[in-house]
């Protein structure tokens, strides 16, 4: 119930945003939604499953490239079809490498996911004919539910139909995740994070539970990636680089690790933060790094953790 109310509040904010902020800022919100979708998936794996992947940018890129290849090379403009292909492609890749990566936990898991991410990145970079190499592939405007919006300008399309589409997609993915984390499966995943051996002696096949979470996280990232590609207008190899994976983890921690609203809060704050920093200093990376360090040291449960603490303090 509390979750639903909080979600409605978030939804209301995003519905009001385009009217309050105007087109320029509205185009900035679409990547927020894209990251929020992707990170909602990564949060399942990292926050609830305790598995730190340093390679999930790969799945983001798979989604982006699926959309780009479908639209630009195969002429399939229907975004719904692009999304399905993105999810299938990403789910398949996750199912394959998950078998290997999940033989490990902790740092070894991080390293192995990093290794696969690096391979994928150099694949995108070096196989020019297929992937467009360094410059990537530009993404043509997709059609949404069969409507092509050909007469609209690019901005009008993004801040109009595509914004609402992305918001709808985020809502569906978010609510599904809300169910997943509160389901018996979600409990089993968290239990395995807290104590793997104990959990397996409670009759839970921990590996299989993590495997499903891994695949789900890959699928969520691909959906986010596809939305991101449309909003940027291109799929390029940078999307899959390991520093991108690092940023994704940063956003989750910033918002609040292992909390349902962590990714959306993180994505909004990160974008605002980055935007403000970049406008004010050339050395925004330093500031970003310092802020992340401070959060890790003093507020390991992120912004949401700070808010919760503040509320509890007021109640006393």
């Amino acid at each position: 119930m509390k979750t639903i109310l909080a979600f409605l509040a978030v939804l209301a904010a995003f519905v009001a945003a385009p009217f309050a902020l105007g087109p320029y800022y509205t185009t900035l919100i679409i990547p927020i939604l894209a990251y929020a979708i992707a990170l909602t998936g990564l949060n399942l794996l990292f926050g609830y499953g305790g598995l730190l992947s340093f390679g999930h940018a790969m799945f983001l890129a798979i989604g982006a490239y699926a959309s780009a290849v479908m639209g630009a090379k195969l002429g399939v403009r229907a975004f719904e079809a692009q999304l399905i292909v993105a999810m299938l492609a990403s789910g398949t890749v996750a199912a394959l490498i998950g078998l290997l990566c999940l033989r490990y936990t902790t740092i070894f898991f991080s390293m192995l996911t990093l290794a696969f991410g690096m391979i994928f990145h150099s694949f995108l970079f070096k196989f020019y004919d297929l992937t467009g190499g360094e410059s990537g592939i530009s993404v043509p405007r997709p059609s949404l539910f069969g409507a092509s919006f050909a007469s609209m300008s690019k901005t009008a399309f993004l801040v109009g139909p595509f914004y609402w589409y992305a918001l709808g997609l985020f809502s569906v993915m978010f609510l599904l995740m809300a169910l997943i984390v509160s389901s018996p499966f979600g409990l089993a995943l968290k239990a395995g994070r807290d104590n793997e051996r104990k959990t397996s002696f409670l009759g839970v096949p921990v590996f299989k539970v993590r495997y499903v979470a891994f695949i789900l996280s890959g699928i969520y990232c691909a959906v986010g990636g596809a939305v991101l590609a449309v909003s940027i207008g291109a799929a390029d190899p940078e999307l899959s680089y390991w520093t991108q994976s690092g940023n994704m983890i940063f956003i989750i921690i910033l918002g609040g690790l292992g909390q349902l609203f962590g990714p959306i809060v993180g994505a909004v704050s990160f974008t605002l933060l980055q935007d403000t920093l970049m406008a004010n200093t050339e050395y925004w990376r330093f500031a970003l790094g310092a802020i992340l360090a401070l959060i890790i040291i003093f507020a390991p449960r992120g912004i949401l953790g700070l808010i919760t603490r503040a509320l509890e303090w007021r109640r006393r």
């Binding site: 104590n195 051996r197 959990t199």
Partner: protein
């Protein structure tokens, strides 16, 4: 003749040159409460780990319900009726008591991979959770976060979570360690009553407290340096000063009655 649940046959486990278990054999039948005793380093925990399939013995084997335990995997074994707890209390700090107990209930019902239904709305499993909690006297604690429990309650929740599986045989590695001696008796009593109420057929417990053993065990297995040196009913055990001397070091004055 009562039904046999578990058979350990000549199990031997070595760590390099050190032999932790040397050809240990025994059967455990329905209705027994078996206390495993012995000095530190005698191989008690190794025994429990081998019986529960966590360690592969170098020689010999363990059969549960007539089938080998080895290679089955912890989760499958637990679902088949052999559950265990660990020496160090293991709780999930962020879980509520109800959540912690429900993990096993969902596993037992084959619902672990149910993704789209909030666990709180699964009535049948929640009823089981309440039943198990009631058996442990934890019904007023269901919504408490595990990390906020007292040490004794943590122990009970830990064991309750495993008993939710309704195992036939439960292995308990030092269920009363870290508990003040005043509370030990109460914990043990709660635990045994709950086990009985939940249909557990046999218990194997590693235990140091001779008074508890005298009061609750139906059989005592003594290990020393990895070898089985005693396997007898408690009254015979406590009447044998030589055995007590070997396994405990001193004769507890009031256990002899």
């Amino acid at each position: 003749m009562t039904e046999m649940l578990l058979r350990a046959l000549n199990i031997t486990k070595r760590y390099g040159a050190f032999t932790a278990l040397a050809g240990v054999s025994f059967d455990i039948s329905k209705g027994e409460v078996v206390a495993v005793v012995g000095p530190n380093g005698a191989g008690k925990t190794t025994l429990v780990n081998t019986l529960s399939g966590l360690f592969m013995p170098d020689e010999g084997g363990v059969m549960f319900e007539g089938r080998p335990v080895a290679g089955l995997g912890a989760s499958a074994l637990a679902l088949r009726g052999l559950a265990r707890s660990f020496q160090l209390v293991t709780i999930y700090p962020s879980f509520t008591v109800a959540e912690m107990i429900s993990v096993g209930a969902f596993a037992r019902a084959g619902q672990t991979f149910r993704l789209l239904r909030p666990s709180a709305t699964c009535r049948r499993e929640q009823a089981q959770v309440r039943e198990v909690a009631a058996a442990f006297g934890l019904e007023h604690r269901l919504e408490t976060t595990c990390s906020a429990l007292s040490q004794g309650e943590k122990k009970l929740v830990d064991i309750a979570s495993a008993l939710t599986l309704r195992p036939r045989l439960m292995l308990l590695d030092e269920p009363t360690s870290g508990i003040s001696s005043a509370d030990k008796d109460r914990i043990m009593e709660t635990l045994l009553a709950a086990a009985q109420r939940l249909g557990v057929e046999s218990l194997v417990l590693v235990e140091h407290d001779m008074e508890l053993i005298a009061r609750y065990a139906t059989r005592v297995i003594g290990l020393k340096a990895g070898s089985l040196v005693a396997d007898m009913p408690p009254d015979a055990f406590f009447r044998d000063p030589a055995v007590i001397e070997t396994l405990v070091g001193k004769v507890p004055h009031n256990a002899l009655g």
